[in-house]
Point group: C2
Chain length 564, copies 2
């Protein structure tokens, strides 16, 4: 596809997004850089264009359109001070909550800060006065980038309309030549196409989907009470439900609809849903993500507050509701539940995964993986903070459900390893339950000063240290293919740290069990008599990788036997 | 003084600053909030005012004034979107380097974000498009605040004129009633009054001062070569020179003009300079700061690049020059040196201070203070990183000069204690000289992970740990007067850390000498055979405070004897 068609497709996808979000009127101030966007909007039969040569006036004119109709309006201008002229009206829109979508066009990155004429910094141009600033990427026309462009047009325009309403700013870097292909129709791509309902659950839209073969995907941290609502929803709909350790679906109570071994199951399953119901962001589980990229089904995204964190950009129905609100609406709706054969098929795969894991001899020996499984099995009425990188993946992949009111915590907002001990200390300082931290050596080192808080406030925290001497996570990732002279210093990063000294330094009891039995005994004792202690489990960076590969192969074989 | 007079004085002082910086023309767009500033500018006989009711036009009109005359111009407007209308011209001024001084007026803080009419966020309103944003404080009329207001008018207008020239933004919160007292004259206050020369040393202005009784104050980090230029300057002018450990004046070579014990000397001296020559920011030495606040003399500030970091806001002559450029110009000037009696008087005070310190029995025992003195005395051809809080103050107050090419480093930009080990490691990784770090226990704890870098790159760093179990610095400060139940948990903050375990953890040799002789032997050995080691010196938080108070009293007595 040539430059002209690529740019045209990309902008048409964006315009489709605008229209889906309810944009019907656009005020254009002519200029050169904005040519393709202006022309395509001008030719669009669903859009009414107004032309105002003065950008200051144009933006205030748009405010009038919004005031009269209570509908969102977009404004388009060229690069340079043209965009600065929008500022007074943007401040007014901010103060009076008017959904103004500001579309500025700009030189592409390679022509910035090199003295190109009319090039000025348009990043964050309106400072704190817009609800959101987005810098678009330079036009591309892959399915993924068209979906991205559409999604930006859709979600930013919706964001402007979310309470409190206000202006948003989208900046488009565009390369010359600037004339679009006016003969092109909107390109084909997978996309979000249905206007979301806002702040209430519009069951009339969803009802046709409720009796179909559905799949529930839950992300982000949830407490045990919320987790129970999610499980109740799954049973009500008779759909399988998936969620990583932080969702606490696995530890709040038993449910036959919950698929604990999702990383294993979704690596192989051929079951095909007719509808996907997602809550919040995606879980950590990699094979769930790959499965969702592979299958295509109408997707409902539910968020408790509008942020549309849709990494896949495939949402078709957007619902703003808490799980409590959503569950109540579903329970009030009339629909025929999907036949049991749908959930049974998934349950069989879960049972198979359980069997494969139970039969794995390495999980009966003593290593990082086995210790993780044993730890989760032994807990009851406790809280467990699961560190980022390997620890959360081990818990996600290898452990079974444990319905003994164990609350699992983590820092998965931005997945850092820089404050895990300190956060755990904060949790323990606030809770009567025994507290455990499952953490790797690199993450423990990062926040070692957090140990001082545990010592200072005498917090009875049991730290289970998975010590594989460095960045074990990278042995699971593509970096593992590097030669040792690159891998070891940059990713393996052995610390060669003696954690017995660490324990001594901060006055923590230190244990280095040598058998699974001893380890389990320590975990049981820690719940009977909580104390500040460090239990070190020695491992290697490669061991868990080999184990997981073996399990995957065995599951694949077992699945073949079943199908055969 | 009533509200009207306070506001008027404050704004008149600001306007004096504008005029000193060369502002002769102002473009005013009328409005309510800007009333006092507009009226006072309008009445000023040195200022030509233009009135333009449209702010967008006004700002572009100002650009024309600047283009025609190459002189800076100020623009004044009221609050709200009025200010946003300046944006296009500000972007143009930025791109074409025009010195535009943007003066916006605003509601005071208590009327912001509470729904007051026409109130919008004017902080950082022009984002990255101005060289500097300054939020003025609400008008007050103390000498200090009038000087501040004057200084803001002066330095921001100068900043706009510094290469690359460009717009600056000053925002004024003003309270009602807004009418100024038009009968008032510019108030009296100590202030900077002489236009600075830029990027060259205008000796004609300074020559009358060079033969007077002068005092040189050097701040900030300087290497040994620069330090030698400063000392050469002092000898050329026959003036005493003062500078803290980071200036390396005490360790680059011997100079009879350098006052090492400035904290002691300036606490008591009655000598009065006729001119003060300052380089960069002020040194750490507290009594130098208090002395400069007490004495008033024409002040020359020299900076190698314009930033006018004048905490005292009393600069009369501003010179933009490196020490090399400045020294060369002074050496080429003709003037009669001040009589020797001036420097001799200071030298006598330095000798007295040296004698008092040398006679102090506690500095011959083994404690944090004595160890600091011994460390600096024993170094030659080495580098010493001095940590913030107590360590740099001990070195500043207690140590003698050591002209054996010792380079002293520190992190005094913002005085943090969060990265001192890591910075020392970076220095050592780059230098063949033996490296020492003098640091307290709290600062060491803060950056303990920096030890991993020392271990990993096998850096032969000797850490001298002054361990007084917590925040020793606070015992010198006003917090010491608090009751123990408040002081200890909030400021004393004992860590109760066994640093022998820390050394073991990171593979550093550990020593805990028990006598000054043993300590000195370790320092000598560390230079003969550099290695990664931790030398712990145990102390208490109170001890150095008592010692310093004793020394001050003894110096005072000795001084009385001399005068008597």
């Amino acid at each position: 596809m040539n430059h002209q068609k690529v740019m045209t497709s990309y902008l048409l996808a964006f315009i489709e997004g605008l229209k889906t979000a309810g944009i019907k009127k656009v005020v254009i101030s002519p200029g050169s850089r904005s040519t393709p966007l202006s022309l395509l909007l001008h030719r669009d039969q669903d859009i009414t264009c107004f032309i105002d040569v003065d950008e200051r006036s144009a933006a205030f004119f748009a405010l009038g359109l919004i005031k009269a109709t209570d509908e969102p309006v977009a404004i388009v201008c060229t690069s340079g001070t043209a965009a600065a002229n929008y500022y007074p009206a943007i401040c007014e829109a901010e103060a009076t909550n008017l959904p103004l979508v500001v579309l500025t066009t700009d030189r592409p990155p390679e022509l910035r800060q090199v003295g190109a004429p009319q090039a000025m910094d348009q990043q964050q141009l309106y400072a704190s006065h817009v609800k959101r600033f987005v810098e678009m990427t330079v036009p591309e026309a892959s399915d993924e980038l068209l979906r991205y462009s559409h999604w930006q047009g859709l979600t930013n325009s919706l964001h402007a309309q979310q309470a409190p309403k206000g202006p948003v700013h989208v900046n488009f870097p565009l390369r010359e030549p600037l004339l679009p292909d006016l003969a092109m129709k909107a390109p084909k791509y997978t996309s979000s196409t249905i206007v979301p309902s806002q702040r209430n659950v519009d069951i009339s839209l969803l009802r046709p989907l409720l009796g179909k073969k559905g799949l529930i995907i839950v992300g982000e941290q949830h407490d045990i009470k919320e987790a129970q609502h999610y499980l109740a929803l799954a049973e009500w709909l008779n759909w399988p439900i998936v969620g990583d350790p932080l969702t606490n679906l696995a530890t709040s109570q038993s449910s036959t609809h919950y698929l604990k071994q999702s990383d294993l199951i979704f690596s192989e399953t051929t079951l095909q849903p007719e509808v996907i119901l997602r809550f919040g962001r995606l879980p950590v589980t990699k094979n769930v993500l790959l499965y969702l990229k592979r299958v295509h089904a109408p997707t409902i995204l539910v968020e408790s507050a509008f942020s549309w964190q849709d990494q896949l950009q495939t949402t078709n129905y957007f619902i703003e509701a808490t799980i409590t609100e959503f569950l109540r609406s579903i329970q009030q709706a009339t629909f025929t539940k999907v036949a049991d054969s749908w959930i049974t098929a998934w349950q069989q795969e879960q049972e198979l995964a359980t069997k494969v894991l139970a039969a794995q001899p390495l999980l009966k020996e003593f290593n990082e993986s086995a210790a993780t499984v044993a730890l989760v099995n032994q807990l009851h009425d406790s809280q467990l903070f699961v560190a980022n990188s390997n620890a959360i993946r081990f818990v996600d992949r290898l452990t079974a459900t444990n319905p003994n009111r164990v609350t699992i915590h983590g820092n998965r907002g931005v997945n850092g390893i820089d404050g895990l001990l300190s956060t755990t200390a904060g949790i323990a300082a606030n809770q009567a339950q025994p507290t455990f931290l499952l953490i790797g050596d690199l993450a423990l080192f990062h926040d070692m000063n957090g140990l001082q808080m545990m010592k200072q406030y005498q917090l009875p925290i049991t730290i289970v240290l998975l010590n594989n001497n460095g960045g074990g996570i990278f042995s699971f990732l593509s970096q593992q293919t590097l030669a040792p002279e690159d891998f070891t210093p940059l990713f393996g990063t052995p610390l060669d740290m003696d954690f017995q000294h660490v324990a001594k330094l901060y006055g923590a009891q230190y244990h280095q069990p040598t058998s699974l039995k001893d380890f389990e005994a320590l975990i049981i004792a820690a719940q009977q008599q909580p104390r500040f202690q460090l239990i070190e489990v020695r491992g290697t960076q490669k061991e868990p990788v080999d184990l997981w590969e073996t399990i995957c192969q065995e599951y694949q074989l077992a699945l073949g036997d079943t199908h055969g």
